[in-house]
Symmetry: D2
Subunit: 344 residues, 4 copies
Amino acid sequence: MNMRKIRVGITGYGTIGRRVADAVARQPDMELVGIAKVRPDYKARLIAERGYPLYGADEESLAALRAAGLPARGVVADLVAGCDVVVDTLPPKQASRLLPIYQASEARVIFQGGEPAGIAEVSFNAQSNYEAAVGRRTVRVVSCNTTGLCRALGTIDRAFGVEKARVVLARKATDPDDPDTGPVDAVVLDPAPAQLPSHHGRSVATVLPHLKVISMAAKVPTTHAHFHSLLITVKDRNVTAGAVVRAFEEATRVVLLDSREGFRSTAQVFDYARELGRSRSDLYELAVWRDSVTVVDDEVYFFMAVHQEAIVIPENVDAIRAVTGTMDRDESIRLTNRTLGILK
Amino acid sequence: MNMRKIRVGITGYGTIGRRVADAVARQPDMELVGIAKVRPDYKARLIAERGYPLYGADEESLAALRAAGLPARGVVADLVAGCDVVVDTLPPKQASRLLPIYQASEARVIFQGGEPAGIAEVSFNAQSNYEAAVGRRTVRVVSCNTTGLCRALGTIDRAFGVEKARVVLARKATDPDDPDTGPVDAVVLDPAPAQLPSHHGRSVATVLPHLKVISMAAKVPTTHAHFHSLLITVKDRNVTAGAVVRAFEEATRVVLLDSREGFRSTAQVFDYARELGRSRSDLYELAVWRDSVTVVDDEVYFFMAVHQEAIVIPENVDAIRAVTGTMDRDESIRLTNRTLGILK
Amino acid sequence: MNMRKIRVGITGYGTIGRRVADAVARQPDMELVGIAKVRPDYKARLIAERGYPLYGADEESLAALRAAGLPARGVVADLVAGCDVVVDTLPPKQASRLLPIYQASEARVIFQGGEPAGIAEVSFNAQSNYEAAVGRRTVRVVSCNTTGLCRALGTIDRAFGVEKARVVLARKATDPDDPDTGPVDAVVLDPAPAQLPSHHGRSVATVLPHLKVISMAAKVPTTHAHFHSLLITVKDRNVTAGAVVRAFEEATRVVLLDSREGFRSTAQVFDYARELGRSRSDLYELAVWRDSVTVVDDEVYFFMAVHQEAIVIPENVDAIRAVTGTMDRDESIRLTNRTLGILK
Amino acid sequence: MNMRKIRVGITGYGTIGRRVADAVARQPDMELVGIAKVRPDYKARLIAERGYPLYGADEESLAALRAAGLPARGVVADLVAGCDVVVDTLPPKQASRLLPIYQASEARVIFQGGEPAGIAEVSFNAQSNYEAAVGRRTVRVVSCNTTGLCRALGTIDRAFGVEKARVVLARKATDPDDPDTGPVDAVVLDPAPAQLPSHHGRSVATVLPHLKVISMAAKVPTTHAHFHSLLITVKDRNVTAGAVVRAFEEATRVVLLDSREGFRSTAQVFDYARELGRSRSDLYELAVWRDSVTVVDDEVYFFMAVHQEAIVIPENVDAIRAVTGTMDRDESIRLTNRTLGILK
Ligand SMILES: NC(=O)c1ccc[n+]([C@@H]2O[C@H](COP(=O)([O-])OP(=O)(O)OC[C@H]3O[C@@H](n4cnc5c(N)ncnc54)[C@H](O)[C@@H]3O)[C@@H](O)[C@H]2O)c1
Ligand SMILES: NC(=O)c1ccc[n+]([C@@H]2O[C@H](COP(=O)([O-])OP(=O)(O)OC[C@H]3O[C@@H](n4cnc5c(N)ncnc54)[C@H](O)[C@@H]3O)[C@@H](O)[C@H]2O)c1
Ligand SMILES: NC(=O)c1ccc[n+]([C@@H]2O[C@H](COP(=O)([O-])OP(=O)(O)OC[C@H]3O[C@@H](n4cnc5c(N)ncnc54)[C@H](O)[C@@H]3O)[C@@H](O)[C@H]2O)c1
Ligand SMILES: NC(=O)c1ccc[n+]([C@@H]2O[C@H](COP(=O)([O-])OP(=O)(O)OC[C@H]3O[C@@H](n4cnc5c(N)ncnc54)[C@H](O)[C@@H]3O)[C@@H](O)[C@H]2O)c1
């Protein structure tokens, strides 16, 4: 480990920003130098209460934060100036608004999956292509669904060879802290108007370009996880359900849950995350239903759940190390896992 | 058409029973001779208000109905004695309780999809195997999901040959009049504990035995429709999306909806059914998203919605005619469609 | 009845516009001269299929409708020119955009409850103040919640004198055809930020100014009805639950439902509306839970449900007659009730 | 503090049992001697992983737990034999099944609010009547809703005198880990059939007998909190909103949240609990919307949220101390608050 800590700033403090902030604060090799916030809401107050340095998104935000009695230190440009790495966690397709500021600085930038792939040099998933991100100026951590798919399909591909993967996503409608977005009682094409195959298959290819993945997606009225149904044709005709389970058991950041033990739904997956005592009851691991794993002929079937709020958090931590070139993949994954309480 | 009307009785007056009752009452060749009901609730009162003859499920029910001032005429055995055909619409796996009564009578019996296939001589879908039911003593109209799949896969198979069909079902959690069953905010394995492939593929095979169908299912918090994602490998390598759409356009009891015209979710499908002015805002047709139909290589993809409450109603009407042998398939389908307001 | 039919045009064809259109089309003394629509979606197509004359919201809409092959006849100004009465059903707070067009015409205009009270000369509820609207140029039919409260509180007030009414509203989150608005799993202050008492009490006062009504509101994840809890201090100390029920039995457009008969929730209220065979499964009546009516000391308590999509429809029909002065209150209410299938 | 730790056992390990277990384990003056469990599900496995001693509900459960490889030590009777205090957390109205075992032992027993008041000598809320429980053999911690109401109404009563309180409850449908219970899209009378006033007012009176409380309740499709609308007539005619807020600020286990700071719904209340870093993201405090507090004439209005899973946990801890007589009220509340992270 190098002597000086990596100085990390975060723009945006919503679902992802808050989690990256706390994860960074737990890393022995990182220093959280500040967070940029738009409004003086309760989240801004919590930044201050936690002792994290607070910045305004712009002059107007800065004034509003200060007017609310919050100790804001400057604006985004001031924050970025003091960073080795900035983690951009703005809402989807908004990062471009801060690009000039990022580009005027020396900081390396980590973007999130809501941005177009073209925004960064590399689309990133720690297990799949950590090395490709080493030393880069810009990296994009792929979305929650894509991260889950990279973990699952990467594991299957390494063990059995993926001939063709098909995935149907029942997407959470929104995050649990959002009371505005629906639906209340409907399944919604995603995207709407219809587009088949959906972008998720192509998103996996930004990380694992050789994989053939067909995806279909719809939104359902839930808040706690995406739910994926996988149907994968593999190359290894000797594949068995037991061998698939073993491959997942050996994979990092994958947890196997058994519906016979009570994991009958995403409700119990969320309950399990609460029991684990994690920060915010987050489940960083991809959850695969162990007893759903089934093989018929040369096809592998299973269900899995992606805790959308949490799954990309360890990836962001690893991405920070990758761009700074301070640690190799396995060392970073191990350290991230240990600090976040991820078992394997 | 034969001179005497087919005398039809119905046991159970829940989601399906009520609809079959009204559908039978609209048929020129049928007479609704009565409905058996357990409790003197508002549904029982509506039977009386509509002038349908009311019977008790047993002596206790008969007494309760009468105590509530409802004009109940007798018990199930009395009802069955006056029927050519009884349509059993008891809750799933309950029909066996009335089997002795049915067997002691001359009546032919139509069962619903919640019963095991073995309860009847034939599992039935009008378009797929009407002829197999002609003259039978017992027939089982397959479930809502299976009916939808028979319509969709039968159409694709006849036009292009189905090599292998894969379907992922996002099942409605419950019917709109049920305030007890959840989930509220979860996706639930169906069945739970997990069973992959789910029974739906095998259910299709009870009607279309040569089809290879793999299915996976989960329940989502909605009430208005099942939502299916289809991924079908076809034999005809020259298949195109346009040709698939045309095949559906020619199929009976299938409606094509375009998400660009506003059909972005099952919410608008339900809205459409209300606009059509149908009894109870029911959509008897399978709804296929026209602009979701996509072909990549030899695989056909599309989304479809199954209005669980309504889709089996025309099938029940046809099944009544099939068992009595009073009409051939095309004649029955045409008459059913016309009386229920189904366009094609 | 006068010889010439009242020529009615409708701007907006969403939840309310579609229902007013069909209701107008059923009135023997009215002629539906056209509907103005923005987009060529499935609702526009249904206008054409129903044979209702179609107009564009503006030139752009007109072009879009025609480009989609729909037989649009002109723009809003053309429609308004041919009307005795225009029913504006634009989204909340949007009607002002069409005010110049309305004002340049001779037509009388009916606005909906989403507009500010100041937009019209009179805020209207047929049972409460029909006469105040007679001959007016502009009238505003109050919102669904206010209509329900006017029916309930007006009835109680006439029978027992309302000293002070308190109402807590659990508002539906959105209409059933809207898959975008939430919440999914939350109760939301309405309005948010908080405002107590909520506007509903004051809205009742626009129709029944002498009533003292305190209201509190929150949104819940449902689509089929608003649910109100009433706590009313009455002047008549001899009030009994039986007398309250009788007052409701005599009131028009109020239906009494008994939870012991199965009406345990708004789910069964919706189910009941479907059973009644009404257009779109609408319940025009206020639904009061008969067996919830309770009196303790001088306070009356009960639950009621307001089918938000439907309750204002008969009011709009009556408002049309009121402004044209073609019928008196009781005659209009009777005719509206009969044509819409309202029992009393 | 006395020398020997209080030996505490817990029967039931669902929503409440798990939380009481962890809370007890955090108390310096208590020892968790074991937990009785029915089934070898993931919760049982977590007991073992946490190192808590595990017992079977009965011989059958014991065998099942052991068959699953879990280190179960005995049955309920064995557990109870080693306890000073047993906390019964069985499902509502089930505790009576274990009464013979409890009565055959020396242990004092804490029951939960789902049991009838008559099961225990005292119904308990720490702030309201700690002293009444001191030295008792049996105590019942009142339900989540009643606990919330005792905190709120007790505070208002002590500060201003409650003349009459009216409360309307929008109850969560079920706990977040339950995927079976609905409704999906309805508001459900609670109880159904209707019963007005609901039992909640009477439940408050088991703790604060002099308070006059009228309550009405319905269930809504949410999982994260009960939502209460309060309308309270107070004796002190000089009451102001500011004074009410100050009274809440001084009360223990009440947190004030401002909707202008982003707390627009129960979704953000839950989010806040996650941010606080509490075990399981629990909010032990009653949450009162600060800016909803409004006074009109002699009535006080406000909204509040009750985190059903968490609010009774500190009360159980205090109840354990009360029955053993080892600490006085203020000392116990302070210690409980400190160990659970409750700020005031
Ligand atoms: N929410 C998820 O489940 C999830 C999962 C994986 C990836 N992502 C991706 O992460 C990114 C962030 O998503 P999120 O869910 O955290 O969004 P969010 O809306 O919860 O948070 C974004 C925050 O950024 C703030 N913001 C906007 N403009 C800003 C500016 N100029 N300066 C500083 N802050 C600004 C907003 O006020 C908001 O609080 C998106 O690309 C998204 O696609 C989200
Ligand atoms: N609900 C659907 O969406 C749906 C769709 C397709 C097929 N089905 C199948 O249709 C059948 C009926 O389902 P449903 O949804 O209408 O059930 P339901 O629960 O709505 O109605 C069944 C009714 O039967 C009554 N009943 C029970 N025992 C009786 C007896 N001995 N005599 C008379 N009545 C009795 C019940 O009281 C109930 O009202 C099941 O096999 C189901 O699987 C249901
Ligand atoms: N939805 C309800 O439950 C309900 C109940 C009672 C009263 N209201 C009130 O009725 C009014 C209409 O509400 P809604 O729910 O029907 O809204 P809606 O959004 O369902 O429909 C409004 C329609 O007006 C159209 N529109 C917008 N601008 C237009 C223009 N310039 N010309 C023509 N059409 C235009 C929109 O495209 C939309 O289709 C509002 O004032 C609302 O507050 C609604
Ligand atoms: N859930 C809430 O929000 C809440 C809030 C306040 C009070 N309460 C009350 O707390 C009590 C427990 O409720 P809960 O929600 O925790 O219930 P729960 O159903 O979540 O848990 C109860 C557990 O007890 C177990 N059990 C049943 N019989 C048993 C036996 N003989 N021995 C050992 N364990 C047995 C069950 O298997 C279950 O796991 C009830 O009285 C309830 O009314 C619940």
